[in-house]
Amino acid sequence: MALIRIDDREIEAPAGENLLRVALKNGIAIPFFCYHPALSVVGQCRMCLVKVEGAPKLLPACSTLVAELPEDKKFEGKYDMVVETASEEVKQAQRGVLELQLINHPLDCPICDQAGECMLQEYAYEYGDSSSRMEFEKVHSPKRVDFGPHIVFDSERCIKCTRCIRFCREITKTNELTMAHRGVWNEIQLFHDRKLDNPYSLCTADLCPVGALTSKEFRFKERVWFLASANSVCPECSRGCSARYDTYRGEILRLVPIDNPKVNGPWMCDYGRLLTERIKGIERLDMPAFRRGSSLERHPWPAFAGKFLEKLSFYRKDFKKTLAVILSGRMTLEELIAYETLSEALFSDVSGTAPNVTRGEDDDLLIRKEKRPNLEGARRLGIAVSEENAAVADLLKGKKTALIVREDPLGDVEDEEAKAALEKALTGLDLLIVADDALTETAKLAHVVIPLPAWHEMEGTTVNFLGTLQKTARVLIPPRNRKPFYEAASLLLQAEGVEAPGGSFGPWFSKVKERIPELSELRVRDLLPHGVRLAGGDESASGGEA
């Protein structure tokens, strides 16, 4: 351990540690552009210059390592390093670098998507001068360059920090980008015949400290200061990346990864983020309904509960033999527990099976082939999990009634023949109950449809493949008849005259804690911001740290 002094603070830090990291960790603000904790250090933006006692000139904090000195060489008899981050000399250097950074910058903040979350803008306000001494035509370079399916590049806004180049070189190892030309004409370019189309390309827009790389999907949608955000979990695979959902007036405009060393590091895949685009076309359910011929007979909660039990009464006595229950890794732990409670009272204790839906292969960064975010949670609750992509038709064999929650087996089957067989099995049922957040192909065949909120419309907990327990958030508020499965279960139980924990998240989470002893001491706030790694998870697997 070395004892260093930064300004007037004494800090202990291990020798060899990056000085900038030490300062930031201790809440000392040093401005920087090109440094990123997950990327290699290049020290080229020169924004983080600080005065280090004994060095002949200012040093970039990002490439200066904490060093230990022999006893007799220590500064003032005790410090291994004495650093100034706010002296007049340092401030002058920061002003100088910032001025140079801005002279050829277009200063088009009013129409720039990055405005409000732009490091250059922040620093210009914090460290820069309010007027410009630059009186010449700025250097012009290409604008609106189509880099790939999701990324647009504006070279004039670019400050040449090379974070995006290093990301493609070091993290995805796809090497699409390079620096071309020289000096003030430097320009980030795609290699010949390449597109920035790796599965993580939108990370470059996150990494870009300015508005040079922007997301095609998000650009020009909304000023960032008008966004309402909530931290939650991405539902698109068993990684369950921590993500911030940015919304505006009831619409999710983008997903941004939260740097979570336990799960995804600072990255997130494009597929997960583009949830924003896929949910646009989804036909949602907003009222429980019974099928009457070709039309739906809709009944709001709680009136629906009585009618549903009435309908159920015709089939209940045979459930033990005739009922098939398909649950899902898209259900939160609370919803899964709710089915258990419900099955005791209503479904003759028939246990459910969660299908393991897979697509593609695992990659070596984040993407998992298992596509259900909480499948590991289902396993931990002792719920049977089917083989990979096992045919749901087999589960329905010999059954006359079925309850399917948050799964769309018909929509997920790709093979034509299997699809026809499944459709036949489903239409042959006497009673098909589907509870889901959308009018899926399966739901279209159902006799009873129960609407559920989407993943981003409810609170819950979920366990990813590493065994990390995370909390999802109610990013958007669903219409009142779209109730989480645990709330729907409560209402049904009440109608049946059975005592139920009620319709809110807390009591159901307590039931989860009872079932998983490890969690008994856990409070909800312990799950923030990065979740809790449960025992028995895959310890060897990394959380996406580079």
Binding site: Q44, R46, S63, Q92, L100, G183
Partner: protein, 431 residues
């Protein structure tokens, strides 16, 4: 008075001087044989250290000391690099050696290889010197044929190779780490230091890099000894040194002189004085990156102490002489243009600052300067100098600053008059 020396330039002008037989007929490769057969590597290293040979590329770092930074472990791979990317405006001494006496350089490299127990040497030659590359390649082939390169050189058990690598036209690749990136086929951008080349150089191996002229001194140090070497020149700049004199002199060219010759002697005694017998106005003493001197500052020796006393340095010893017809603003524009064009652009201050300086200087030169411009130039120089990864930023800021400081009157006259006063004079004389 310093007389011309005949060591480094001994074979210049000799017929067929680039051939190995000519070189050997004149005593060549004997120092190498002496080193390989009679001296241990440490003894060679100590001799070079004792000679206090200063690097001739511009920074003047002691060569022997630099060699001693290489790791000594037997299993480590060590590379030498010869920096023949001579592209500093006003500097053309290495080209003379490469094109006229390649074996002298090669012999120095082999001796250095023996001293440092290196695996081989990358000879990185400027892309715009195709003839030099051709000549040097031929010299390397001849040395292989003679058994001076390759496996088990002259039965000493020492293996050593030389690979000639041509640059692709970037001044920045003369910076040691940018050169190494270029050798590896990467973009020529200087690396962040530490790690220094001695620990992490070409292809990540321990490397030592010296200038062409530095290597050319080695055979003489081995042949005649460190004491002889130190008897030439001054303590700050021992040994013979090549001065490339260009500009407004009667006899421009490369002159081999002791390191402590005065600027005045170089210009007036050896280079024949000012062209057209006009007045001397300014001298850049050590290549375009060094601060400019006024005509009343030239009575100093061209060693670090002497030039240091007038705020400049000996750099690469490229002496650029300017007479009284030269507009100093225009000269500064020329310099700034070069550095703007050659900045690699990775560090903000150099990338943006050099271009801004060029804009400001051009504005003054074209008669549209504003009264605050000279001060703004100095402030921009402050923001560039000592703020970048490599010395290219300094190399632009230092001379530009010195032009403004030494000839401020002339800059202000441009701004006041709205035109170049000198060019007006020329015009009237022509009419």
């Amino acid at each position: 008075m310093a007389e011309l020396l005949q060591f480094l330039t001994k074979n210049v002008g000799v017929s067929n001087s680039t051939h190995v037989d000519t070189y050997m007929g004149n005593g060549g490769y004997e120092p190498m044989m002496k080193a390989l057969h009679k001296m241990k590597p440490e003894a060679v290293l100590n001799e070079v250290k004792a000679s206090n040979l200063k690097g001739r590329g511009g920074a003047g770092f002691p060569a022997g000391l630099k060699w001693s930074f290489l790791p000594k472990e037997k299993k480590r791979i060590r590379y030498l690099v010869c920096n023949a990317d001579e592209s500093e405006p006003g500097t053309f001494k290495d080209r003379l050696l490469i094109e006229n006496d390649p074996h002298l350089v090669l012999e120095g490299i082999i001796i250095a290889g023996w001293a440092t127990q290196a695996k081989g040497c990358f000879f990185y030659i400027r892309g715009e010197m195709p003839q030099g590359a051709r000549i040097f390649r031929k010299a390397v082939d001849q040395a292989y044929n003679k058994g001076f390169l390759g496996k088990n050189i002259l039965g000493s058990g020492f293996d050593f190779d030389v690979w000639v690598v041509r640059g692709a036209g970037a001044y920045i690749c003369g910076e040691e780490t940018a050169l190494m990136n270029s050798v590896e086929g990467k973009r020529g951008e200087p690396r962040l230091k530490p790690p220094f080349p001695a620990g992490y150089g070409v292809y990540g191996e321990a490397s030592n890099i010296n200038n062409v002229e530095t290597y050319a001194n080695i055979p003489y140090i081995i042949e005649k000894g460190a004491d002889w070497y130190k008897s030439i020149g001054s303590a700050g700049s021992p040994g013979p040194r090549l001065f490339g004199v260009s500009g407004h002199v009667k006899r421009p060219g490369v002159y081999e002189l002791p390191g402590d010759v005065t600027v005045r002697e170089v210009i007036f005694k050896h280079a024949g004085g000012i062209l057209g017998d006009r007045e001397l106005k300014a001298v850049i003493p050590g290549g375009s990156s060094t601060p400019v001197l006024r005509s009343d500052q030239i009575d100093v020796p061209m060693d670090p102490d002497g030039l240091g006393s007038v705020g400049s340095m000996s750099g690469s010893a490229g002496v650029i002489v300017m007479n009284d017809t030269v507009c100093m603003v225009k000269a500064a524009v020329n310099l700034a243009h070069f550095y703007t064009h050659e900045s690699c652009g990775q560090c903000t201050p150099c990338r943006e600052g050099t271009h801004w300086l060029l804009d400001l200087l051009t504005r003054i030169e074209s008669g549209e300067g504003k009264p605050g411009d000279p001060d703004l130039i100095l402030q921009i120089c402050d923001n560039i100098q000592a703020r970048t990864i490599c010395p290219l930023g300094d190399a632009c800021a230092m001379p530009v600053r010195s032009f403004v400081q030494q000839f401020r009157e002339e800059f202000e006259e441009h701004i006041r008059a709205g035109r170049c006063p000198l060019h007006a004079v020329e015009m009237t004389t022509v009419i």
